[in-house]
Amino acid sequence: MMRWLSFVWIGALRFLGEGRLQTGFIVGGITIGVAVIVFMSAMLAGLEANFIKRVLTSQAQIQLLPPNQIARPLRNGSSEIEDAIVQRPSQRVISIDQWQAIAHRMEALPAVRAVAASMTGSALAIRGDASRSVSVVGIQPESYLKVVRLSDYIVAGQLRLTSDDILIGTDLARDLGASLGDKIIVSSNGGARRTLTVTALFDLGNKGANQRNTYVALRTAQSLLGVLGGVTEIGLTINNIYDAENIAREIESSNAVEADSWIKTNAQFFTAVQAQKYTNTLIRLFVGLSVAFGIAAVLVVSVIQRSKDIGILRAMGATRGQILRLFLLQGGLLGFAGSLGGSVLGAAALVYWHSMARQADGSELFPLIIEPSLFVATALLATLTGVAAAMAPALRASRLDPVEAIRG
């Protein structure tokens, strides 16, 4: 016999082994439930991670902008509105006041890892007969690349920006019929004009952005947009991305800027994720409950079937505690076995779905994140659920009167 295994273990294993059919069915049930949970949790985590990665490589975690000039309705002393038409201020490019001082202050903050100033404005890109309205972003590559991972999106050419270079999106290149090394003319609303060489093409994974965004050297943008020495935006990379909103509020309170965290600008996404997590929790709860009821039902039947065995064990000196543990362990083993099966099935489904589900552009829908911690947590939870579910049947078994049990 299994030497050194405790009596409770031997009993639990043998009882489960003898009731093979019952054991098989309930473990199968638990396996399916656990697989659903593993699959859902991993896919959700993957989608979230994928989105966050996309957002955070294409956008600063915190953007500092000139304070918003909010237009207010004109009021005539009392509450009477004199002119209800509210107009946004004109589209002229406004630099952040004393941006260098602010940038230095940001660099000194312990929570901030990288700081990059940039200048954005609109202009017309012209090549031959074709022209397109674009957004010109002037950057200093050394600092900007630490805040926005532009280099991840380059699909052709070199990320090189002298004052006569420009990076454009793949869609804009197609619209203008331009390719690497071609020259295009960029003309601003103010009338400034530059001829720039295309040194790289990027694909941000979004057609609108690929058509509209262009990158030039900061100095070039400043001269084009007529704001020499100015910047319209300071981007920050911080240590803990989930702290972004708090840090943004802090920065706003002590600097004359508007600070937008990536959490705020993607609020919709987070609302959706929150709703999805809530649904996920509910599903887990109900799967857990049905697993628990299933285990309890199987063990209740087992206690009735084995009442004679229990009586004999008690007659041979087994304590109530040993009988209790014998059945609790069976519940725990069922939960654990089901969680192993479920983890394998869930992971297999995940790998399969990962290979099948593709985004419109053919890239993966979600990264395959198979965290060991998910399986450990699932196994632990399923085992505990099994033990908890076994409580009622186990108590019943431990309270069996041996005389009644043996008489059967």
Partner: protein, 230 residues
């Protein structure tokens, strides 16, 4: 006479019948068993033999009266102490074998020792095999408990009762379900064990031939000790 292994004094047992009525099944039993005895307990069906045996085996508690095992009064013991005393001092052989079907023959024999010790040891396994050998069924050690004849199963049950070297083995109609040849084998084995180890036996039986081959016969009639017919 040696020190009594078992002493009952005015033991009564009532069962609740319906909501408010009780019937008394044992009406004041006084009984002493000497250590090392081989005793038969006989009496008509329904006279209370099994009830008495269950009380002596600490599976059931008397409604009133005192039961002492090897000098220890059991009314003062709590449930855990009763369980311990039962596990170490008393062995059981039931009428219908009542082996645990999930275990092999050997495991059934080892089970009282494993329950007591908490886990399997080499010594426990060796003793299990030794006992099966003494019962002449060593070759069935790894059989499923139910894949044996009735007589073989009952021999496993006797081996199991002997496992803890108890002071007293209680057997409720151990040969009741066996053909006469198997019954003879099982009875003889028990008699040999009694002679060899000095373990006391108290055997309920309807077979008067077997009863007469015991050291002493106790008769129970209508819940009272009726005295030895001899």
């Amino acid at each position: 006479m040696a020190e009594p292994i078992l002493a009952l004094k005015d033991v009564r047992k009532s069962y609740a019948v319906g909501l408010s009525t009780e019937t008394e099944v044992l009406h004041g039993i006084d009984l002493e068993l000497e250590s090392g005895g081989f005793v038969a307990l006989v009496g008509p069906s329904g006279s209370g033999k099994s009830t008495l045996l269950n009380i002596i085996g600490l599976l059931d508690r008397p409604t009133s009266g005192e039961l002492a095992i090897a000098g220890r009064k059991t009314s003062e013991l709590d449930d855990a102490q009763i369980t311990h005393l039962r596990g170490h001092r008393i062995g059981f052989v039931f009428q219908s074998h009542l082996l645990i079907s999930a275990f092999t023959a050997l495991e059934n024999v080892m089970m009282p020792m494993v329950v007591s010790r908490g886990h399997v040891t080499e010594a426990i396994e060796a003793r299990g095999r030794h006992l099966l050998d003494r019962m002449g069924i060593a070759q069935f050690a790894n059989n499923g408990a139910l894949n044996m004849s009735g007589g073989q199963q009952q021999r496993v049950a006797v081996a199991r009762a002997l496992a803890m070297q108890p002071d007293l083995i209680l057997a409720d109609e151990p040969t009741g379900n066996l053909d006469s040849k198997s019954a003879e084998v099982v009875f003889t084995l028990m008699r040999e064990e009694n002679a060899r180890s000095g373990t006391s036996f108290l055997i309920v039986t309807h077979n008067m031939d077997l009863a007469r081959r015991c050291d002493r016969i106790i008769t129970v009639v209508d819940g009272r000790i009726g005295g030895s017919p001899e």
